[in-house]
Symmetry: C2
Subunit: 243 residues, 2 copies
Amino acid sequence: MPNPTAAMLTIGDEILSGRTRDANMPHLALKLGEKGITLAEARVVPDVAEEISGAVNALRARYDHVFTSGGIGPTHDDITADCVAAAFGVGIDVREDARAILATNYANPDVDLNPARLRMARIPDGATLIDNPVSKAPGFSIGNVHVMAGVPAVFEAMVASLLPKLTGGAPLLSETVQVMRPEGVLAGPLGAIATAHPEVSIGCYPFSREGVFGATLVARSTDAPALARVAEALRALKAAIEA
Amino acid sequence: MPNPTAAMLTIGDEILSGRTRDANMPHLALKLGEKGITLAEARVVPDVAEEISGAVNALRARYDHVFTSGGIGPTHDDITADCVAAAFGVGIDVREDARAILATNYANPDVDLNPARLRMARIPDGATLIDNPVSKAPGFSIGNVHVMAGVPAVFEAMVASLLPKLTGGAPLLSETVQVMRPEGVLAGPLGAIATAHPEVSIGCYPFSREGVFGATLVARSTDAPALARVAEALRALKAAIEA
């Protein structure tokens, strides 16, 4: 059976402005690889309601899971929960269990849990909470969509809470071989190896270091014996071509 | 007139595996902001032909420009040029001017310009070349789609070659105010400022530093006087709330 598939949806003008680099996508990608869930697409959309709802609906129809990052804090630009509710066509309101969890984060909840912060307890109808051991305000899963925070420490904690509950597949394994020759010289024999082993994805990433051109060859597969055969072929190619 | 819009399409299993972080999207985002072109969406897709062609067609129909990164080297996994030709329904072949440019990169072109490297001179019919002063192999523009390399130094050089040829708009300006108070305390008055100034996008990005919670407020607009008014309001909010 093929591994489950997933998309990541990053929400935020901050990422699209180039000012902040998205650290959550690489983190999720690595964790999904270990879990045997294939990250098949990633998207970044701005803080615009129709864009968020539209992307959620496009992605949840296509992949087994959708993981979102960003837009679930207390400020006016935090509109993800409402957009996800709209995408599913369900209601959204402050939920008592979420409010109770949120209250544990404040010294004096009656004062500190102001209307803005209470927005973080707004949960779409039918969703399940995702635990946030860092700052309490929960994420949530609805259908196959998992809604998490944008702050990396909180996102990572939510991923750690969520992933054990999902059904994975065969972990994505990889082997890396570095060849100190330009990729244009490698390309012919490398293509032959790739054609002979369609069950292994082989990437070639060129670099130059102190004026010397080289390439990092990365083979990826969920099939360990096939990966081992390819790794052997890549090492043989390296030996032949560097000789 | 509103600014032209753009999408970025990053192509590569390497990015989706989490192993390599995409540095090209933040670079392009900043350069487009200076040029007055709004980066409205970013996507990452794997090295799979239908995924690349499908994303190119979806994005070029929706935005004024599409910028792609990755998949135009000499190896078997470099399939972007063919996928873009397929998306446009045009032919693709080695083009003489591209081959001549490529040849200047090699000491002995008759030997060095092997079949794999010659693939880098395959250009879809009707495309215009994008200059690559770093490693010669050109990118290309076809319609509103601009196809560039994934290696950051080459991508950046191609962006520098291309952007002066595109029509921009009003540069995206920003003002940043850092407030040493939690965003939950700021959220109410900040929302009021945002509502009063719909022509300015205001983002709130929480952080914690040595146990102290704070928030970075970033206002963005192409309208300088409006931005100045909002910056003044944000500084007044900071003074009031930190007092």
